[in-house]
Symmetry: C2
Subunit: 320 residues, 2 copies
């Protein structure tokens, strides 16, 4: 397999690709955070219409997003790749180029892999990061009265996906910028690590399956409910030009923000007493307080007109 190597990785891989397994020497006093994720042709991407380098780029970024949500610093990844013979040449080279770019950006190093054949491309990635055990933040720490915060603008990736699916000419029509959040997502490593290190967040997770689904998971893990105000949710902006591409079928930005997946932004809760310190967070200008933790077991959403309704999880379910 061609090599993929991160530029900034620490030198703790004792033995990498080529032997039966990788050998890693953990740093004394750190704990390791591990997660795994899959990226499957026909489920998460289409090999025909997606730029091959985006397949490689995104597969690593989305796997690493869980580490950001745990406040960990990404270090290594292992890649298992199943693919048909027709995808082993130029296409695979481009995939690995994209993955290498993501690895460099994230400071990660490939520590192992396995390749086999299959009818459809399937990538499975295990990521490892480390963190100081004192910086632990989980999904389960949200408490009554905490502010519910999100990073970034939600729904951008879902909107990019919509454009990809509905209008194959989107890239030609000068809207390729709008596809970026779907094809080459960014993740909030620095913010996640800062929130954990400074003990500002009481609970945190990444928004991979949509805010309505992921915040519900955070609430369930913490044994609490949440109340959101629609007016405070930073939604994707849909330019008029793009609307024309869809021939007037303008999607609802709030719907995309609530239920659209793959933004890989962070949702986290902040105790009131920590809100002032939050101003020192990296990218503070892109953080919005959208609601608060309350008693109960679900999410209530308050519209612009003051009316309340229950927000049901409407995000990504692979078996739906």
């Amino acid at each position: 397999m061609p090599s993929v190597r991160g530029a900034h990785a620490t030198g703790v891989v004792r033995l990498g690709i080529g032997d039966d397994a990788a050998v890693l020497a953990p740093r004394v006093g750190s704990e390791w955070v591990l997660s795994c994720d899959q990226f499957v042709e026909g489920v998460h991407f289409r090999a025909e219409s997606y730029p091959a380098d985006s397949v490689g780029y995104k597969s690593l970024v989305r796997a690493t997003s869980d580490l950001a949500a745990m406040g960990a610093t990404p270090q290594f990844f292992l890649l298992t790749l199943a693919l048909p013979a027709k995808r082993t040449g130029k296409w695979l080279d481009a995939v690995l180029r994209g993955m290498g770019r993501a690895a460099r950006q994230l400071g990660m190093q490939l520590a192992g892999g396995d390749t086999t054949r299959s009818q459809k491309v399937s990538m499975s990635i295990t990521v490892l990061g480390d963190r100081n055990p004192a910086s632990a933040v989980t999904r389960a720490g949200a408490r009554l009265g905490d502010a519910v915060c999100v990073s970034g603008r939600l729904g951008c990736a879902a909107w990019g996906l919509r454009l990809m699916e509905r209008h194959t000419g989107a890239r030609r029509a000068g809207t390729s910028r709008l596809l970026q959040p779907h094809l080459y997502p960014k993740i909030r490593i620095e913010l996640g690590a800062w929130l954990a290190r400074n003990r500002v967040a009481s609970a945190m997770m990444d928004i991979s399956d949509g805010l309505s689904t992921d915040l519900a998971r955070l609430c369930r893990a913490s044994g609490v409910g949440a109340r959101l105000w629609t007016g405070r949710i930073p939604c994707v902006k849909i330019p008029d030009a793009a609307e024309r591409l869809l021939r007037g079928r303008r999607p609802d930005p709030l719907r995309l923000a609530l239920h659209g997946g793959e933004d890989y932004e962070l949702v986290f809760t902040v105790p009131r007493r920590n809100l002032k310190r939050l101003r020192g967070a990296p990218g503070f200008g892109e953080i919005a307080a959208i609601g608060e933790i309350e008693r109960g077991d679900g999410i209530t959403i308050v519209g612009a007109d003051g009316r309340e309704r229950r927000l049901e999880p409407g995000g990504w379910d692979p078996f739906s």
Copy 2:
């Protein structure tokens, strides 16, 4: 996902399934060994004809085999599972039961996972073990004059596969014992750890793709050649009853032993001065010295008649 949990695992998982990622606290002074492996429907198994619990059992055992070859003690695994909706019920339960049994036998604990849908079942497993850094043994340490040794009887798994493929009535015909090495392979954790800990082996790897292929890899990594004597290679025994099942088409046991994959036995090299100490190895009675390391870059095999020929790798290649 139903839970899979090993009984003997050490208590260093700080946070397991349910959060974004697993958190592990490495033992001070140990190094970690990581490997990943895939088990794909239609490539490695058939979902229709294989007992579901064997799919779970074997997928974990074969992934863990690389740890045995590194002299590591298995500790954790992460599982990504892609499967069609029709396989999410009873079938999946049985798979996870088989995997749980393997985890208990191997002393491993599930530390994370991800599930998605796909047309075919695909399992990707990352395994983690630890070892003392002083016990490092790789593929690359074989030196001129070292004895080439293997554990167990080779070709049993390939023979089981042949029976599965050619004779669907094999299980009914009282030959199910012959299928065991293919369906429920054993691996040499104890032997691998002993060889590494006692610094008896100079190089080691597991025989997953067939002796001819895997020994060639060991030789290439070590920059040496090897000479084997066919009479010394412990080959699968093919009972007459089984031969009748195949209507006289008796496979060549030596061919199965040399090129048949999935035995998950160990091939390792032992400096002459260590051969006496080898007698203390667990399962010493099942170890055979089959040849020696020599100058060159390939494998020479010496027949019963003293004639020499070059042994070309004939094992498993997923893209062949």
